[in-house]
Structure formats: C-alpha cells, structure tokens
C-alpha cells in the first residue's frame, strides 16, 4: 500500500519558484479547504516525482452485527461507538489526503475523513512538521494523531482489523487526536531510542493534555525486528461526555470533569525470513494501559424520558486497565490471516451510586477476532473478519465484518 512518493529533484535554478508555489499551496492547505486544494495545479519540476502527494483512500465496509446502542460495560467511553450501522454498506473513515514537502525539511500534511454515520467530513489531521531543527529533533504543530502507544498514530486504513478496538474506544473514543505541538527526538545511538513529547490545547477528550513517551527498537538477527515503549498521558477532561444506561435501562449522558492519568505500554515484533517480507511475514503487536481518573461525574437529567438521573454529581474515581494482543501472518504473497484478543478490567469504580443511579458495575469486557485478508494489488485490500464481542455485559454478539480498502494516488509510506 505504501506507494510513492517524495519530492522533487528540483534543478537548482528552479528551486525558488517551486518553493514559492509550494508555500502558496501550504497556506491554502492550512486553511483546510478541500475545494481549494482540488483546484491547485501540482508543482511540476523537471524529473520531479509527485509533490504534493494527493490521494484518496476508499474504505467501504459492511457489518452483520446486533443493532442498537452497544456500550462497553464497566467503562464510560466517550461518545458513541464509531463504525457502521448494521447490515448497511458504509464508507466510514474514507480519507482524502494532501501532503507536500515545502522545503527539504518542512512538510505539510492534511487529511479529511468522511464520517459516514453523520454524513460529514472531518479534518482528521492538518499539520506542519519541521524536521531536524537540531539534528534528531522534529517539531510538528497543528492537528495530529498522538504517538500514544502504537496503533494510535496510524490512519485507520492501516489498521489490521476492522473497526475500533476496545482500548482506544475507552481511552479516547476511538482515536486520540491533538491540536497542539509534538516534539520528537531520536538519539544518535546505535540502538533506536526515540523520545516524544506532546502538548495539546485541545484533545479528543479533554481541553488540555500533555504526554511524554520513549520507544526503543532494534533488529535481532536478520529476520527479527522489534519496537517497544511506554507513554504517559496526563489530561484534564472538562465535562467529557459519556453514554451509559441508568438503573431504569434508559440511556443517560454523563459528564466527567477532573484529571485523567494514563500509562500505555506497547510492543511490536516483526518477523520476515531473512528480512524479506515479500513472501511471508509475521507481525505481533500488543498494548496495555492503566488509567486513573479522579474528579466529578454528573449524570444529566433524563427524567423526561423516564430515566433516573436528576442532574446531580458525585465524586468519581476509577483505576482501570486493559489492552490487546494480536498476530497477523502473511502465509503467501497477498494473503494474510490474523487473530486478536482484547480484554479490559473495570477495576476500581468509586462513586456514590445513590447520587448517580447508573449501571456501572465491575465487569471485564473482552472481544476475540479473527480475520483473513487478500490484497489484489499494493493499493487494495479485501478483508473478512469475525468478532465474538463480549464487551457489553449480558449481551454477547457474534459479528461478521467485510471491508474493502482502495487507495488512489500517492500517499506517504506507512510507518514500521
């Protein structure tokens, strides 16, 4: 899938004008107006490869699963579970991307995703990145996917399984995206040592957040490579909404204000015989989190609908854990199989249940998935997945999901 492309071998004389053109383009890109991006003529220079990179990723899926609202029991995930309505073809998370190298060290990138359920587009990413301010240090500013753990910094079309998994859903409502700055430093050492720090003025589920992470990585012999790290995320949610059933089985909306401190550990292991992933390769991936929340939870008044909440709030403290492990194996060119196990633990749930009449009891939500996918070409992928979803207490579900991803145009290569 990683096709094309980088920049412009600009003839020396042509450089200034091409740069000016790119900068004009950046200004427009930063306004985030898709329509104006579409009518810009790409910068052409003699012998140049494609810059800017323009691509569209079609992501069509179909799900055979239980209808109605599904909650992750024992947790207060932000918002509703994303994804498609049951038994309907949907284009959720199809993406339009535009990226350009403005100077040798300045890159701009934007992506707009289509949120099918709400029939609208959303600016998922829009950032400028200055590479190598001092050797090894890169600064990114704008809206970007956080480096929290491993999978969070990937676009959904690069995920190996269909739909949101449990861990990101409870941590950030699906995808932790920051409006802010990110600083990364790669140490000048033999072994890969990377430190990243992020500061968000607005984040997926809180107005303020910062994080600090470190990752190590290396090869082991010719056939193995690994990467592992820990990230600490500190957020200050303000009226973060959640959805849960109350004791009358009526949907209730909650609002949490306080502090949220999360540790995430992630490990990735890849194997390819002799380092040649073309024929066969194996990818093992696992992430684990521990989150402590401390603050006030309000259950909004839903008595008009026959609910039990009256809008009062209670002190709310939780300490919860969870994670997943998955394996994906390419057993022959173009064909892969994979399995994933996810498990959460509602852990400590400390609140006054008479003030907050909600159904939030101890539970260990889990989900098992298996998938098989086939890539007719480098740009396309067809995937079939089966989930045994026991994330909602007393309401297990067997789900079949089908997904087709096709990329058009040039887009940046996928990370390790």
């Amino acid at each position: 899938m990683s096709r094309l492309s980088y920049v412009a071998r600009l003839p020396q004389g042509a450089q200034p004008s091409a740069q000016q053109a790119s900068q004009r383009l950046a200004t427009l890109a930063l306004r985030g107006i898709m329509a104006s991006c579409l009518c810009i003529t790409p910068v052409h220079a003699a012998g140049a490869t494609i810059n800017p990179e323009v691509s569209f990723t079609l992501q069509a899926s179909y799900a055979d699963k239980a209808g109605g609202e599904r909650h992750i029991s024992g947790f207060l995930p932000e918002g509703h579970a994303h994804g498609c309505d049951p038994k309907k073809l949907c284009l959720d998370h199809s993406e339009f991307m535009l990226a350009a190298n403005l100077t040798p060290t300045l890159r701009a990138s934007s992506s707009v995703i289509f949120v099918d359920a709400e029939n609208k587009g959303e600016v998922e990413e829009l950032w400028l990145q200055q590479v190598g301010i001092v050797p090894g240090v890169s600064l990114k500013a704008g809206r970007f996917m956080s480096e929290l753990g491993y999978a969070n910094s990937q676009h959904p079309h690069a995920w190996d399984f269909i739909g949101n998994s449990l861990m990101p859903t409870v941590l950030s409502g699906g995808h932790l995206i920051h409006d802010g700055v990110q600083l990364k430093w790669l140490a000048p050492t033999e072994r890969f040592v990377e430190v990243n720090a992020e500061l968000a003025k607005k984040s997926s589920n809180s107005p303020k957040a910062w994080s600090l992470g470190v990752h190590l990585g290396d090869d082991l012999g010719a056939s193995h490579a690994w990467r592992a790290g820990v990230t600490y995320l500190d957020a200050k949610p303000l009226n973060r909404t959640g959805h849960v059933d109350d004791i009358n089985e009526i949907e209730a909306q909650t609002a949490f204000t306080g502090t949220s401190k999360t540790w995430v550990a992630d490990v990735l292991w890849k194997w390819a015989p002799d380092g040649n992933a073309k024929e066969r390769h194996l990818k093992l991936q696992a992430e684990y989190f521990r989150r402590t929340q401390n603050g006030q939870l309000t259950c909004e008044d839903n008595r008009a609908e026959g609910g039990a909440c009256d809008g009062t709030s209670s002190a709310f403290r939780t300490r919860q854990t969870g994670g997943y492990a998955q394996a994906v194996y390419q057993f022959m060119p173009r064909w892969r199989i994979g399995t994933r196990y996810e498990r959460l633990d509602s852990g400590t749930l400390d609140f006054n249940s008479t003030v907050l009449p909600i159904e939030l009891a101890a539970y260990k939500p889990s989900q098992r998935s298996i998938m098989v996918d086939f890539s007719p070409s480098e740009m396309s992928n067809l995937r079939l997945q089966y989930n045994r979803d026991t994330s909602m207490q007393g309401s297990p579900d067997k789900q079949w999901l089908l997904q087709y991803v096709h990329s058009f145009g040039a887009h940046g290569a996928h990370r390790f």
């Binding site: 980088y6 920049v7 590479v131 290396d218 090869d219 073309k278």
Partner: protein
C-alpha cells in the same frame, strides 16, 4: 568521581552537545548493497558505509525499521537508486530520523537515477496498475555503463562533503573508473554469444542487464509489474511458450522460487538465479564480482 565525569561526558556526546573527534570518517548509509560497494570503492578507509538492505530483500518492500532509523539518524550521506524504487520507505527514514543532513535537496542525499537515462518511463496518463515507476525502471545499476557517470558524481559528492580528503577521493575515483572500463570491455567480449538469445523474466529487475547484453525478453512471470505471478498467468505462459523457446527463466534472489520452477518444469527451460546485487551469491562480493557472476550464469549451457 572519575567514573562520574566519564559518564557525564558520554551523556554530553549522546545529546550531541559534545564536540566530534578532530578527524571523523564520513558515515554513509546506502539503500542497496550495490551502492555500498561503490562507496567503498570510492571512499576506502575514509568512509564508514553500511547498506539498509541486502540482495535477498526486495528493495521495493522494505520497512522503515527502528534499526534503519537509527542508522539514518547518524548518516552524513545517504546513497540510493532513486526513481521511486525506495518510495515506500526512504521518505520515512529521512523524516523520522530527524537528520537534516540527508533530506531531499541537501548534499547528503544522493540518488543514482539523476545521472543516467532511465529505461521504460511511464506514458503520461498510463493507468497506474501494479507498481509502475513513473520516472522509469529504477534497477539501473545492472548496466555497467551507468556506473560511470554515477561513480563520477558520487566521487564529487564525497569531495564536497569531506573537503580535506578531496584529493584522496579523486584519486580513488580515477582508479576505480580505469578498472571499471577495462572490466566492461572484458564483459562485453565474453557476452557476445548471448546477443539475440531469448529469456523469461520476473519483473523488470534485470532489464538494464538484458538490454545491455542484447537479450530478448519473451515473457514476464508477473501479469502486471508489481503484481505477484498468478497461477492463471503462469498457465497461460506455459501454453504460449513452446518447450525450449527461451534460454532460461531468470529471477533474483529476493523473488520466490516457486513460480519460476513451476513454469520451468512445464516448458523444460532451466531457472537461473542471478545475483542481482552485491551479496546476491558468494561470487558477487563486490561490483566486479556481481557482473562476473551474472555473465557466468547467463553463459552457462
């Protein structure tokens, strides 16, 4: 106390705040082993060179592994084929390494494709089926004539990046080019009997070698460039090609053995695994060995 001060110095060095030693070798990272071999020829002991890939890896399909990022972080110069061969991973190495010295448009970034004419560029508007490199075929190191302008340009680049050693690089460059021209003359004499012979290939990996030697490609195991050989396509080839209609089926060490062997058994044609790059077989120890071995395999009865 002494231990402490040593470790403090180490930390300073680690943070890039310490001074570098008075005389340092140039650290060069190449995308493919053929360029590592060329850098070693041109830079000798003044350079420390490593290759991101080896000949048994498909250079299209490499991941920006942490170990490669760590190498790119410390490189003074990156030498690659270019022409989008490394488009799936090199931009990531450049960006994620945070190393300003090796970015596109800086002297620390060298692509061989800039200095030669590429074969088979895509026509404007051609459907981007499979894996088409718009600029042309990037497996350009397999015509030894291409190495001449590339070696000249690369020697100049080394001189530019390490001026105190410029005379040394210049001299090694002249020496290499003289030996290389002699070798080309020898190879062309050896390969004369191959002119006009037919071969079956997999992908355009060997195109430069075959065109240089005047070999005819009668079939490709890939239905579309970059798309893996399918059973359907192989079966149609088996039907179309009469037994003995080509001298050999050629593949590289990084391509799967099965498709070529399946077809070989149907049409009674031998399979030859050419080294493709330096390290592709024991004889291909350097650029000279690469062509010696390739010719020997092609000339084998």
């Amino acid at each position: 106390m002494r231990l402490f001060s040593l470790s403090a110095l180490n930390w300073l060095l680690l943070l890039g705040l310490g001074t570098t030693p008075a005389h340092a070798q140039l650290t060069v990272l190449t995308c493919e082993p053929e360029w590592a071999s060329l850098v070693a020829e041109l830079g000798g002991a003044q350079v420390s060179v490593s290759s991101a890939t080896h000949a048994r890896q498909d250079p299209h399909h490499i991941e920006a592994r942490p170990s490669l990022l760590a190498q790119a972080r410390r490189a003074d110069l990156v030498v690659c084929s270019g022409a989008e061969l490394e488009a799936g991973w090199l931009p990531l190495l450049q960006r994620e390494s945070g190393n300003p010295a090796i970015q596109v448009g800086t002297p620390g970034y060298f692509t061989a494709a800039e200095f030669v004419t590429l074969l088979d560029p895509a026509h404007p508007g051609q459907p981007l089926a499979g894996h088409v490199h718009a600029a042309g075929n990037p497996h350009l190191h397999l015509n030894p004539h291409n190495l001449v302008p590339i070696a000249r340009a690369l020697s100049q680049r080394l001189q530019q990046l390490d001026p105190p050693q410029a005379a040394f690089y210049r001299e090694r460059g002249h020496d290499f080019l003289a030996r290389w021209q002699t070798a080309i003359t020898k190879w062309e004499a050896q390969a004369a009997p191959l002119r006009g012979k037919s071969v079956v290939v997999q992908h355009g990996s060997l195109t430069y070698l075959l065109r240089w030697l005047g070999l005819q490609v009668v079939a490709d195991l890939e239905p579309i460039p970059g798309v893996e050989p399918s059973l359907n396509h192989l079966a149609s080839l088996a039907q179309r090609l009469p037994p003995g209609s080509a001298k050999a089926i050629l593949r590289t060490p990084y391509q799967a053995a099965r498709p070529a062997e399946w077809l070989a058994s149907r049409i009674q044609i031998p399979v030859r695994v050419l080294p493709y790059s330096v390290g592709g077989n024991p004889e291909a120890r350097d650029l000279f060995g690469l062509f010696d071995s390739s010719l020997k395999l092609l000339l084998a009865p």
